[in-house]
């Protein structure tokens, strides 16, 4: 019962707050900190979806040719991970999204489920990594991954 009241009060507070700020018409496009977080979330989700149905060439297209330290070694590792286990699910939260010139560094806290290809048994893994994207010809491509990569298992 206590929880229900808490939920109701949160919803009510939001409505109250939305009333207070009604008429605030500032476009989200003008708030860089909001845009970059939304962009970061969509990029990580998009790349995970692509990885979950891995096609070597399709995934390769998402990696910058200047990937550090080596694009094709990373691609081989990601490919070996995919063919070693079935990516079942990824949930994540964006901790930081730092934009600098043509780079976007996204720090992600993630939880991942993978299924063994022979036994079907699930493995649960948690980690944190920073995925650095670089904008090239209008596209944000993976430039570098530091920490526990979501694509390597």
């Amino acid at each position: 019962m206590k929880n229900i009241f808490l939920i109701m009060s949160i919803v009510f507070s939001c409505f109250m707050f939305s009333g207070c700020v009604s008429g605030q018409a500032v476009s989200i496009q003008e708030a860089p900190s909001l845009n970059k977080r939304a962009l970061a979330e969509s990029l990580v989700q998009k790349d995970w979806n692509l990885f979950a149905s891995f096609q070597r060439q399709g995934f390769s297209d998402r990696i910058s040719s200047d990937f550090l330290p080596d694009k094709y070694a990373f691609l081989n590792e990601a490919e070996a991970s995919f063919f070693g286990a079935v990516p079942v699910d990824l949930s994540f939260a964006i901790d930081k999204a730092l934009i600098k010139n043509n780079k976007l560094a996204v720090t992600v806290v993630w939880q991942r489920k993978t299924a063994n290809r022979e036994s079907g048994n699930l493995t649960l893994t948690e980690g944190e990594c920073t995925v650095v994207y670089r904008q090239e010809n209008g596209q944000w491509l993976i430039y570098k991954i530091q920490g526990n990569s979501i694509f390597i298992f």
Partner: protein, 576 residues
């Protein structure tokens, strides 16, 4: 240090906004008399106008028509999770989780062409999957003063000097200055990580500097010539959290020379030569010697008509170490790529990547040589059907090892094709890929895949409202060297969105994985469904109430592994 920086930043922001001395000075003090973010000179604004502009949340005026603004968002979320069955296979726990996030962004035009920008992102949650601590956490903050040539920042930033020296998310101070067209400077004083007793880590600090000089500005043959010098030192702060801690106390320094040289036509070159010093633990009683290593990266690129050829030569000694840069120690690499466009309808990409390890001084027991080759052909085969696109690709990887007994030898061959088209307002895609992996040391680990993938996506109008549907079926057929049986993994992804009203959207989806394995007692299915209702409020629909339900069912032939997850999420977002 973290707390001090945060306190300083917060107090400086608050002081700027609310300090009475500033307010009293308002009538006579002008932040500047000209300016904007793009190098244009900012106009002059009295402080009263600045305050009015800053706290004007009701008008539609963009930043170009005002002296400053505050924008942001507030998110509150309540999530109810319910797990049944084998709970060890779920990250969720039964019960409620709450999340509140506040994003603030402040922009203010200053004197000349300088702009001030502040950002703050705070989070409070009791959800351990998002945040291990329950107090209010400042996840990201920064205060920046910048014009097109100079930047002064305190807070979180992405610090970058060169590939081998620094490229990392940092928290601290950053300054970048360009006094003239031939010189640019960068300074970084920050920390990489805070102290972490649970992970046995000291706070790790970093200091870095870079000088770039630009040459041949007026040359008619050279379009870009840059020579850079950079130095970075990384040091664990053994007094934080506690001087008596027995954590590893790292010390690492890297110096490098890098540069670009691009001719107006044909040739360009990028290079970096670095030397590192590394000591894993300064306090170690046994390891006192610092190790030194060198690294080199050279990337020439030739452009001849429709052909681009690029070569990467990399040489990294085994003892080269860079804590905030990027390098693969103990490696020599030759990577060549060639892209050629035959016509507007056809292009080809070729790649050869050859690298090996076990250089002089290596701690590895054997040398492994990797030889990667790939070719990709993209084409539009039909002039009368521009939407039809096709791609052929093939790849070959050979890994050789000079230890015959404990070898890592393997061979991987990949070949595939994909086509995409738009037919009767439906986007259609089909792809096929074959992959053969042969482990020469342990043949039972070899496997062969045939993989199919399809996509269908279309927009409809139902009762004059847009309905978008997407369907993605796929299938993997796997065979091993152990027997002739097949592991078949079928998947189906379905998602859609229906714009039920101008301010009311419904999103929905279902994803199923059905795995039939040759091994006994190993089949499973995983079904995940969701439904989301998004109600936009306000004149500009900048407030959202989102209700989402998720169901996830994992059913294994071994019933003890089964579990079900139910999630209900209520989210309110206010953008201002």
């Amino acid at each position: 240090m973290k707390n001090i920086i945060r306190q300083l930043l917060l107090s400086s922001v608050l002081c700027c906004l609310f300090s009475t001395s500033y307010v009293f000075a308002a009538e006579v003090y002008y932040f500047g008399n000209d300016g904007s973010a793009t190098g244009e000179q900012n106009k002059s604004y009295p402080l009263s106008t600045r305050m009015d502009d800053l706290f004007d949340f009701t008008s539609d005026r963009p930043l170009s028509e005002r002296s400053g603004k505050i924008s942001g968002s507030i998110l509150t979320q309540a999530e109810y999770d319910m797990v049944s069955g084998n709970k060890s296979k779920s990250f969720l726990t039964n019960g409620w989780d709450y999340l509140t996030e506040v994003n603030l962004n402040m922009q203010e035009k200053m004197g000349s062409d300088y702009n001030l920008e502040g950002q703050l992102m705070m989070r409070k949650t009791d959800n351990p999957r998002i945040e291990p601590r329950r107090d209010v956490r400042i996840k990201e903050y920064s205060l920046k003063v910048a014009n097109p040539d100079n930047l002064f920042l305190a807070g979180d930033f992405y610090g970058e000097l060169s590939p081998l020296t620094m490229g990392s998310s940092l928290e601290g101070l950053n300054a970048e200055m360009k006094p003239n067209d031939t010189l640019a400077m960068k300074y970084v004083a920050a920390r990489i990580d805070g102290p972490d007793e649970a992970a046995s880590k000291f706070q790790r600090n970093v200091l870095g500097t870079k000088f770039d000089t630009f040459w041949f500005k007026d040359s008619e043959t050279i379009s870009n010539s840059r020579l850079g010098f950079q130095a970075v030192t990384v040091q664990d702060d053994s007094s934080d959290p506690d001087r008596t801690s027995s954590f590893e106390d790292l010390r690492n320094s890297v110096v490098s020379v890098d540069g670009d040289l691009a001719f107006v036509r044909f040739l360009s070159l990028n290079y970096e030569l670095a030397r590192s010093m590394y000591l894993a633990d300064e306090d170690s009683a046994t390891i006192k010697d610092q190790s030194y290593g060198n690294a080199l990266r050279v990337t020439p690129q030739v452009q001849l008509g429709n052909t681009t050829i690029r070569h990467l030569y990399g040489y990294t000694q085994p003892k080269f170490y860079t804590d905030v840069g990027s390098a693969s120690p103990d490696k020599v690499q030759h990577q060549t790529t060639m892209d050629h466009r035959f016509s507007q309808r056809a292009s080809v990409s070729l790649m050869h990547n050859y690298y090996w390890d076990h250089l002089a001084g290596s701690s590895r027991t054997k040398r492994t040589i990797n030889d990667d080759k790939s070719a990709t052909l993209n084409f539009l085969p039909f002039a009368f059907r521009e939407s039809f696109r096709a791609r052929l690709n093939t790849g070959y990887n050979l890994r050789n090892s000079d230890d015959a007994v404990n070898t890592l030898e393997s061979e991987t061959f990949t070949a595939g094709f994909g086509v995409n088209d738009r037919w009767k307002e439906t986007d259609i895609g089909f792809s096929y890929e074959y992959r053969a992996f042969s482990n020469r040391h342990n043949k039972s680990a070899s496997d062969f895949f045939n993989r199919l993938g399809m996509t269908f996506a279309r927009e409809y109008y139902v009762v004059a409202r847009r309905l978008y549907l997407s369907l993605n079926p796929g299938m993997d057929v796997r065979r091993t060297k152990v027997d002739d049986n097949y592991d078949i993994n079928a998947s189906l992804g379905f998602s859609g969105q229906y714009d039920m009203a101008q301010n009311f959207l419904a999103r929905f989806g279902h994803n199923v994985i059905d795995s039939n394995n040759a091994k006994a007692n190993a089949d499973y299915t995983n079904n995940r469904s969701f439904m989301e209702l998004d109600w936009s409020l306000g004149k500009d629909r900048d407030k959202h109430i989102v209700l989402r339900g998720d169901i996830n069912r994992y059913m294994h032939e071994d019933g003890t592994l089964n579990y079900k997850e139910h999630q209900v999420i209520l989210k309110c977002v206010i953008n201002f």
